[in-house]
């Protein structure tokens, strides 16, 4: 691989160099996931409300927390890179369309059979579709950016998705488990990545000119 490509790849993967986004995002996902799981297992409505509130409040707030942490930890040590807004390529649009049509078809077939509940086939299709999509997205990103720890997330999500498919989990329970496992895995890989980053870059360089 030539130096131009290596430099471009390092720059593309720079967002993940410190593990902060995984750590913060993973914490939010794990919290929501565990609340959903607890709500499904115990049947306490308050837990479901708390999960919904956590989703509404934590997901947008986590983006702000990531920005502040990156400003304080990463940008002072190894610099700042701003990325262009992502554009959806023609191939990706077709893939999304195929995924949407496939899911819609399976849902229609499930509804045709009279199974209207989220805890039935429709919920299972949603769960399997979301799990497969997330696992593929992680694996694709890991391969593209050559960040091997993202494969851990992909494998964890794939394993939970397959387990959910064979078990009798309802939608809420399955989704809660998916988020809890993905979030916990992300927190662990994020903490390890952050510790490695801090050990490699213990001090910020002097003020720039």
């Amino acid at each position: 691989m030539n130096e131009i490509v290596k430099t471009q790849q390092r720059t593309r993967g720079y967002w993940y160099c410190d593990g902060i986004s995984e750590l913060v995002g993973g914490f939010a996902m794990a919290l929501v996931g565990f609340l959903m799981l607890a709500s499904a297992r115990t049947g306490v409505d308050m837990l479901a409300t708390m999960a919904l509130m956590a989703m509404i409040l934590l997901f947008p707030a986590s983006a702000q927390v990531v920005r502040v942490l990156k400003d304080r930890i990463t940008h002072t040590r190894t610099g700042y890179v701003k990325y262009p807004r992502p554009t959806i390529s023609k191939g990706r649009k077709l893939l999304l369309l195929a995924l949407f049509l496939g899911t819609a078809l399976v849902m229609l077939l499930a509804l045709w059979g009279g199974d209207y509940s989220l805890e039935g086939t429709v919920g299972k299709v949603f769960l399997m579709g979301a799990g497969t999509g997330i696992a593929v997205a992680f694996a694709f990103r890991a391969a593209k950016l050559r960040i091997s720890r993202l494969y851990v997330n992909a494998v964890a999500v794939a394993a939970i998705t397959i387990a959910s498919g064979f078990s009798g989990f309802g939608f809420i329970e399955g989704m809660g488990l998916l988020l809890a496992v993905l979030g916990s895995t992300s927190v662990i890989t994020g903490v390890i990545a952050l510790l490695i980053y801090l050990s490699r870059h213990p001090k910020a360089p002097l003020e720039m000119p």
């Binding site: 131009i4 720059t11 940008h75 700042y80 990325y83 003020e207 720039m208 000119p209």
Partner: protein
């Protein structure tokens, strides 16, 4: 590209290794700051400033200064002319490799 075009000189502004690295970074990022570029190019502050100025004078990048809290941040981003020049340089390299393989 013909043999005659292949024999033509590459863009000397981009051809220099440090400037090529700067352009490589900015080709995939909207902008990058001085600290990041220093780490990627392994240049001293003075040398990096010189290379950035050279690229700015060629119209390939723009340099902006801002404050994040109390800290100054100098960022560079590629212009449209820079994108065209970088694409042409990559095409030149590709033709060079093709002609010599």
């Amino acid at each position: 590209m013909t043999d005659f075009e292949f024999a033509a000189d590459p863009d000397r502004v981009i051809h220099e290794p440090a400037r090529l690295k700067i352009m490589s970074v900015l080709s995939v990022a909207e902008s990058a700051d001085f600290v990041y570029l220093m780490g990627e190019t392994a240049l001293t502050r003075g040398n990096l400033s010189v290379q950035l100025t050279r690229l700015e004078e060629a119209g390939y990048i723009t340099i902006a200064k801002e404050f994040v809290g109390r800290s100054p941040r100098t960022t560079a981003s590629m212009t449209q002319a820079g994108k065209v020049a970088f694409d042409e340089y990559r095409a030149y390299l590709a033709s060079l490799l093709k002609a010599t393989s």
